[in-house]
Every structure is written in C-alpha cells, then in structure tokens.
C-alpha cells in the first residue's frame, strides 16, 4: 500500500507539472460550469430576444394591439418587413420566423374560428424548430390576451353576436331546432351585455385567459433550486472525464517511455503499479470534487442538497471512472491513439449520458442509449443527492450500476494490459 501511495504521489506531481493536464482536469470543468450555469440560470425564462419579422397586412386596431403585445414580450425582438422581405430573411437565417397577419386578422370571431382560411401565417426556419414551437406558444398567448381586451368591450361583443346571429339565420345546412337553440343563447347573451352592471361584467371577462398554477414535485427542501445546482453534476462528470482521459494517457506514456518497464523490474508487482495509477486517478477526482464543491458553495452560493447521499454518489461515480481509465488505456499503444480513442469514447458517453445537453432534448430512441452510459448514471446519482432529494434507497440503484461498470472495466482493462504485455 505504501508503494502504491508513492506511485500515486508521483503521478499527482507529474500531472500538476503539465499545464495542459491542469486545464483539462480543473479548468475545463469550471468553464463548463460557468457556461452552462449561465444558460440554466435563464432557462426558467425561456429564450430571450428571439428575432422575428412581423408583416401586418391587416392594419386593424386588433392587429395593432396584437403586435404591440408581441413587442412588449422580452422573449421576442420584432422587426417590421414586407411579406417578401420577411420570407427572405427567414430563408437566410437572419430571423427565426416571419409572422404574417393577413387581411381580416382583426375580423373578430369570424377570423378567429375560421379554419378554412387562417388569417395568421408563420414562416419559420426549419433548423430552429424548437424556437418555432416556443414562438407558437407566444403567438397564441398574445392572441388570447388581445381578445381578452375585446371581450370587455360591450359594443364590440354586441357587434360580434349580431354578426354571428346573421350567419346563423342565413345558414341553410343547420337543423331548425338546433338553430333555435343557438339563437336563444345569443338572445340571452345580448340581454346579459345590455343589463349586467359594469363591475360584474369586467369581473367575469377581464383577467388572464391562460392562467395555471405550478405544482412542486420535489420533496421538502430549503429554498429554490440554484442554476448551478442543476449543472453541478455535469460539471463534476466533465472533471472526472478529463481526469480519466489524462490518467489513461499517462499509463500509455509510462509504457512507451520505459518507466513502466523500469517499475516492473523493481520489487513491486503489476498490481501495485496499476493500483497506484488507480489511486492517483481516484485522489485527483476527489481533489476536483473538493475544488468544484467549495467553488460552487462559496462563489455560486449553491446549496449542496444532501451531503450523506452526495458522498456515496460521488465515490461510486469516481470508482466507475477509475475503472474506465484502466480500460481506456488499453485502447491503443501510443499516447496519441489512446488520447483520441479515449476522448472519443468519453465524448460519446457524455453525449448519450446528458453531460453535453439535457437528455430531454434528445429523441426518445436516442435517450434509450443513455442507459449504457456511466455518465448518465453518474449524473443521475449526483442529481439525486444535490437537488432531486432522493431517499437513500433511491440512490442505491444508480450507485450499483456505477460500481458494476467500474469493476467490469477495471478487470477488463487489467486483463487486456496483461495480454498486451505478454
């Protein structure tokens, strides 16, 4: 054990003597934390400043009110263009979408409920489908809000009911009995508009038309989730991945430079040497964890969640990556080949495991592959401890998966190293 500790101490010294290693192991995860933390900190508000082109061909009061609502939304940045210009700007990718308010858009209920001839057209950039979906929601919201303003205008409502009544009376394809039911309803509504006092009318029709309450699905906890709490598990995983790649390369470097052979002709066994490597990788990952945790708590004021669950979650994740390090170092015989193959393997694991983008953004078939990525289980275990408020029994599953992957990779790596050496 003492010799394995000497080996580990030497590896740490070698690691810290290389600025490149320091960046990948310590610097990169911090940059990741800052970058994605900034993204997640505004995630609750949705995208901001999405540039859209407005083509107002209706030029009615209603279209003016509608457009002013879009203009006042922080999520949008509005420019006014002609139809051709707007479509061209979308094609060139300069605006996310063109919103065309056709003539008759402000035509009240007739325009709103006419499915045969929509009065609102959207031309969106096919490469920005997610933004397009978000935009449709904002457009619907603005439309409901603009309508809400009209609903409290008694004269406008009376005019709309009158137009509806004319349509109904002229409709030949409607059963007389059914038509009478509608006309009776409109008579009653007309009476209501005429007789109801102003306060009661406004209380009934004014206000948010899309109003909903959010249910909190997390267990009891102190304070809200901080943005960096969400990115913290990913940041740790990036640190561990950097460390894994660095130490896998260092094993190959030892083998190609002859120091591995020098150690092997010394009075220590192969198990000592590999154990020492594993130990130094473990210690470095722990160091990364400590630095990032202290930074997250001290600088970003991040609440740590449950420490008692965080410790086993982080230990299991680190042990998993120590095992992977041993497997990765056998992927090639030179530093270059192991560096390239190792990072490629880790990147794929990272992508599938949600270290680059949240799994929710992936198609469902791709998400299934995430189950094979230790990154996914690492993030899941750490999230469980940091902000998902897992119960102790809930964290056992991901921890067992991590330990199994780690042990299997370690044994496989040692067996392959032995085979390569012989």
């Amino acid at each position: 054990m003492k010799k394995a500790l000497f080996l580990a101490a030497k590896d740490l010294r070698v690691l810290l003597s290389d600025k490149g290693n320091i960046f990948w192991v310590f610097g990169f995860p911090v940059l990741f934390a800052l970058f994605f933390g900034a993204i997640y900190s505004s995630a609750g508000k949705g995208p901001s400043g999405m540039k859209i082109a407005i083509v107002d061909e209706d030029k009615s009061d209603f279209s003016g009110s509608y457009v002013s609502r879009l203009e006042s939304d922080e999520a949008l940045s509005v420019v006014y263009l002609s139809r051709d210009e707007a479509v061209e700007q979308v094609r060139k990718g300069k605006v996310a979408a063109a919103v065309i308010l056709k003539e008759g858009f402000g035509g009240g209920f007739e325009a709103l409920f006419n499915n045969d001839e929509p009065r609102l057209e959207i031309a969106s950039d096919p490469s920005r489908r997610m933004e397009s979906g978000y935009l449709q929601g904002l457009l619907a919201k603005a439309q409901f809000e603009a309508l809400g303003d009209k609903f409290v205008d008694r004269e406008w409502m009376k005019g709309q009911i009158s137009l509806w009544r004319d349509d109904m009376e002229g409709a030949n394809d409607l059963d007389a009995e059914q038509a009478k039911l509608y006309l009776d309803f409109m008579d009653s509504f007309d009476t209501l508009l005429k007789d109801v006092n102003e306060d009661d009318f406004r209380a009934g029709f004014d206000g948010d038309m899309l109003n909903f309450a959010k249910l909190d699905v997390s267990r009891e906890r102190e304070g809200p989730i901080a943005p960096f709490q969400i990115t913290f598990p990913q940041v740790l995983l990036w640190g561990f991945m950097g460390c894994t790649a660095t130490f896998a390369i260092s094993i190959v470097k030892e083998r190609t430079s002859g120091t591995f052979a020098r150690l092997r002709v010394g009075p220590i066994g192969r198990a000592h040497i590999l154990g020492g490597k594993g130990l130094s990788c473990f210690f470095t990952c722990m160091l990364i964890m400590c630095i990032l945790s202290v930074g997250a708590i001290a600088i970003f004021k991040m609440p740590m969640g449950n420490w008692l669950l965080f410790i086993p979650a982080v230990l299991c994740t680190i042990l998993c990556f120590v095992g992977l390090m041993m497997l990765i170092c056998t992927l090639g015989r030179t530093e270059q080949s192991v560096g390239a193959a190792g990072w490629a393997m880790l990147m794929i694991m990272g992508m599938l495991g949600g270290a680059m983008m949240p799994l929710a953004f992936m198609p469902s078939w791709l998400r299934r592959f995430g189950h094979f990525s230790p990154v996914k289980w690492g993030i899941y275990a750490l999230e469980g401890a940091v902000w998902r408020n897992f119960a102790p029994t809930e964290i056992i599953g991901p921890c067992l998966v991590l330990l199994t992957i780690g042990l299997t990779s370690f044994l496989l790596g040692v067996a392959m190293l032995r085979r390569q050496d012989s």
């Binding site: 010799k3 000497f6 080996l7 030497k10 010294r13 070698v14 003597s17 290389d18 430079s257 002859g258 120091t259 052979a261 020098r262 150690l263 092997r264 002709v265 010394g266 009075p267 220590i268 066994g269 012989s422």
Partner: protein
C-alpha cells in the same frame, strides 16, 4: 550468481533466443555481444522477469523465477530506452525510484546525493529532466538503477547515442562497480566496450550463442592472425634472408617495407629485430572482437 539454462523465446515467427545457456560468477563482468536483433535485450528482459521464456530457466543468486518481485530486489537494471519522468527533476526521479526500492530517510538522501555525484548532475539536480542533454539523461538513467546498491547489475546498451564525455563517465562508473565486486551483465554491439569492460563475452547472433570465453581466448580462437607492417631505414637488399624470420608465405616485400600476417606478433617482431635491420615505422594490427564476429558469422557487427 547467475545461471541461465536452455532459454528459448520466440515472437511469432522470429526466434529471439535459441537454447541459450550461460553462467556468470560473482564479481564477474559478462558481456553479451551481438548486432541489433541478436537477442540481447530479450535475454536481459528474461533475466529481470519482464518477459517469460518459452523454455529454460533462470536463477539469480540461487533464487529461481525473477518474475517474483522480491527476487528482483537484488537486481539493478539499466534499460536501453530512457526510463525517466521528464516532468520531474533528477532529484525527484531518484527519490521516487529509491522509495520504490524501500529506501527512506537519511539513507535515501545519502544515496541520492551519491548517485547525483556519480552522474555528474549534483549542480543541476533540481532541473527538470526534459531540459537535460541526451548524455545527462543517459547518466541519470544509469544511476537510477544503482540507488539501492544492487549486487547484480544488468546493463542493456547503456551508451547508445551518448557523447564521448558521458560514455567515459559511464565506463568509469561500471569499472568502479566492478572494483566493488558487483556482478555485471553488459550487452552491447560495440566491441571496444566489451573488450574494455568484460571479463568474459558471449557472442550472440540470431538468438544463439556462437562462442563464449574471455576476450583474449576468443581472439586467439577466432580472431585470425595479426597484421604487421614494418618499414626499415635501408632498402631490403636480401628479402629472402628476412623470409626465414616469418612464417607467412604470402608476405609482401617492397623496397624498404614488409607486410605479413602472424598468429604470434610479439615473437615475429623479436625475430625481425634480431635480423639487424633498423625499423623506421612499425604498425601492428592485432585481431579484435570485430574479427572474431566476422570469422564466426561472415558479417560485421554493425552490418
């Protein structure tokens, strides 16, 4: 001290060692001389437990199986490649390897200081190895194996690619080790090194030992005759008279010069001296290990 019996090792279709046997006595310096690819490094790797032979046995100081770490404690191996941590200083390298061999405290400090002195690196001990010259690295590479004062040293071509100054320092160090009674196995393809350092030499080619003996005996057995060229003060008026002093029937005579081969150069020169002719210049080219190798294999060592 070291006993090697019937070693055989094959890498796919290449026979690296073919029935190699030798014995090295305590305090002896034994050379393995052969061209590149002769099997020298494979032999060293088997001796230090890095490679397992397909057949045969190795015994170090009476203990079998050098793959057992404890057996290797008595071994100091100087590998052919530079096996150093370039990111660390010479002192840090020595400290690390010393600790691996179980040294600590004052003893470790003393040994580090001693080894740095041997390598001539005391003044630059705190610099990173990556800043050293090739020769400095070679010297450090060697002393890293001497830290634990092993009774048995295996040196695998320790002078490859070094400057003359470092080469001499390495020779002096090995000679000092010899004086201390260490047992040394030295591989090289430089016959001058083997001739200078080794008590006995095994000529290795294509994995086989062609012969093994002291350098003198090998030269006598396989080196062939010495070449003598003598120039006299006066012209040779009676060459036939001189012919009676030399045994070489193909001797060449030119005005005041004679060239001939002999297996006993000193005796031939004494006889010529007795002839009364006065020498102006004299060149004696005795056989060496290069000739031994050439005569044994039909090839030069560095072919």
């Amino acid at each position: 001290m070291i006993k090697v019996e019937n070693l055989k090792k094959r890498f796919d279709n290449i026979v690296a060692l073919d029935d190699v046997s030798f014995e090295v006595k305590k305090g002896e310096t034994f050379g393995l001389l052969g061209p590149n690819g002769a099997g020298k490094t494979t032999a060293i790797n088997i001796l230090c437990g890095l490679t397992k032979p397909d057949q045969g046995t190795v015994s170090l100081d009476g203990k079998a199986d050098p793959t057992v770490p404890e057996v290797r404690l008595s071994l100091g191996v100087v590998p052919q490649t530079l096996a150093l941590y370039e990111e660390l200083s010479a002192q840090e390298n020595l400290r690390f390897f010393g600790r691996i061999y179980g040294l600590s405290g004052r003893k470790l400090k003393e040994r580090i200081s001693n080894c740095l002195e041997i390598a001539g690196l005391s003044q630059r001990s705190k610099e990173r190895v990556s800043k050293y010259s090739g020769g400095m690295k070679r010297r450090l590479n060697m002393v890293c194996s001497l830290l634990h004062e092993p009774p048995l040293l295996l040196l695998d071509e320790p002078t490859v690619g070094v400057d003359p100054q470092s080469r001499n320092l390495i020779f002096e160090t090995i000679e000092a080790m010899k004086k201390q009674g260490r047992t040394i196995i030295y591989t090289t393809h430089y016959m001058e090194e083997a001739q200078r350092l080794c008590d006995r030499v095994a000529i290795l080619d294509h994995g086989r030992i062609l012969d093994m003996d002291s350098v003198e005996n090998l030269i006598i057995k396989h080196g062939g005759p010495s070449h003598i060229e003598a120039e006299f003060e006066e012209k040779l008026s009676e060459p036939d008279k001189l012919k009676s002093f030399i045994e070489d029937k193909n001797a060449q005579f030119e005005e005041a010069k004679i060239r001939f081969k002999t297996s006993k150069p000193m005796e031939s020169l004494a006889m010529l001296n007795r002839s009364g002719m006065r020498f102006r210049t004299l060149k004696v080219q005795t056989a060496n290990l290069e000739d031994v190798f050439l005569n044994l294999t039909g090839r030069r060592l560095r072919d």
